[in-house]
Symmetry: D2
Subunit: 132 residues, 4 copies
Amino acid sequence: MPKVNRYVDISTVDKEAKKDYIDRHSPFIHCAPAAKSGEKFSVTVRMGQEYAHPDDPDHYIRSIQLFNGETLLAETTFISGSLGGMGAKGNQEVTYSIVPSGSKLRLTAMAFCTKHGLWECDPVEVPVSAAE
Amino acid sequence: MPKVNRYVDISTVDKEAKKDYIDRHSPFIHCAPAAKSGEKFSVTVRMGQEYAHPDDPDHYIRSIQLFNGETLLAETTFISGSLGGMGAKGNQEVTYSIVPSGSKLRLTAMAFCTKHGLWECDPVEVPVSAAE
Amino acid sequence: MPKVNRYVDISTVDKEAKKDYIDRHSPFIHCAPAAKSGEKFSVTVRMGQEYAHPDDPDHYIRSIQLFNGETLLAETTFISGSLGGMGAKGNQEVTYSIVPSGSKLRLTAMAFCTKHGLWECDPVEVPVSAAE
Amino acid sequence: MPKVNRYVDISTVDKEAKKDYIDRHSPFIHCAPAAKSGEKFSVTVRMGQEYAHPDDPDHYIRSIQLFNGETLLAETTFISGSLGGMGAKGNQEVTYSIVPSGSKLRLTAMAFCTKHGLWECDPVEVPVSAAE
């Protein structure tokens, strides 16, 4: 079965190449710390924080999935070449606009690199307050 | 073959229901009027301008594709329910971050409604200036 | 807007390179001539009849969509390399198993080549007889 | 993070409802026991063996992914309704045609139910003999 890789705090990693490998393959969720029920809530999933990933035809980030708990909200698939063309590196990202309806979001992102497989981030919990 | 529907300026349309139908099914591209080669350029595709679309299990916006000319850059598929749950209407949207490399972008978006098929917007041309 | 290319009978085309180009990019629907309501019905979409398409990282068939009328039934996306690896050519194909419920199917397939864009076949009409 | 559910031999499960739940959500890989390098090899992924799954708008099998080791080969997404319409149950399936190039395939399938999340099967190993 495909291994689901997971981010490790790269400040605890010695080798530069390994820091780079882990960081550039990990999806990171960027969103506000709290949401309101029934109001638009923006969620960005961005690959990497400090390192960039190739976007070449034989090695690129093929997809990003956003889950709320067990529920898939959206999946984006990319074709290589949109980050500057052959040889360019970058941080693939996508922003979704969701409208929360429960009392809590539990967001996770899963990404797939065509060379290095599946990578998942730890869940990000976002409290959702009732509409005013 | 599936018909590819296209936006019509709704100020030229008489019936309210038809304005609503056309507007809520049409993808609109929102981006800056010009881009720089090698720099990140944000492109949002948003469904509808003045009207909102259902997001129910049997009637929702299933996907948004972004093309540059004939080239597909990215495709996002949605599962119904992320816009507030059953009965809620909304304007599904997604934001991509691309890095242009040529002298011009010619962006088009195509969306698919599970009840009303394929909808495409007119191309948006964005000049790309050389990096400084 | 991306052009939707369409198959042309290649026996009417003179140049060998153009025959090859048209044939290998066109999706062809293979199915029985008639279906029964409520019974499984197999539909294969196969790229090309007489010519094969590259499956290299920078040039491959990225997706095949199957429509019934205006309704998308399924979409398959491929990663390059499953047809024998770098340099190999092949005829990407996928088989779906649907269960018709109306009186007629009107099947169309749309494919996307990462270099040569969208290609659609003419609709295939399949009468659906009532369950016995 | 979304849980990845896995098949359990249902003959070891007591409750009928649980047998049904596990079986209908599990992808099963059907293929020949051995493959030849450079020759087409058919791989069917079918949901369930003894039980069928709903295909209703609010509860259906949204996608099937086929992996070889860590490599995604193809992903199919479905729209509900292709298995007979509202109220009908069925076993969603898809057949891919791959051309192996190494000495072994290690196939896994992952499926997503819109209500019950991710389900993965155990890997199926297929020896690949050299071309004659």
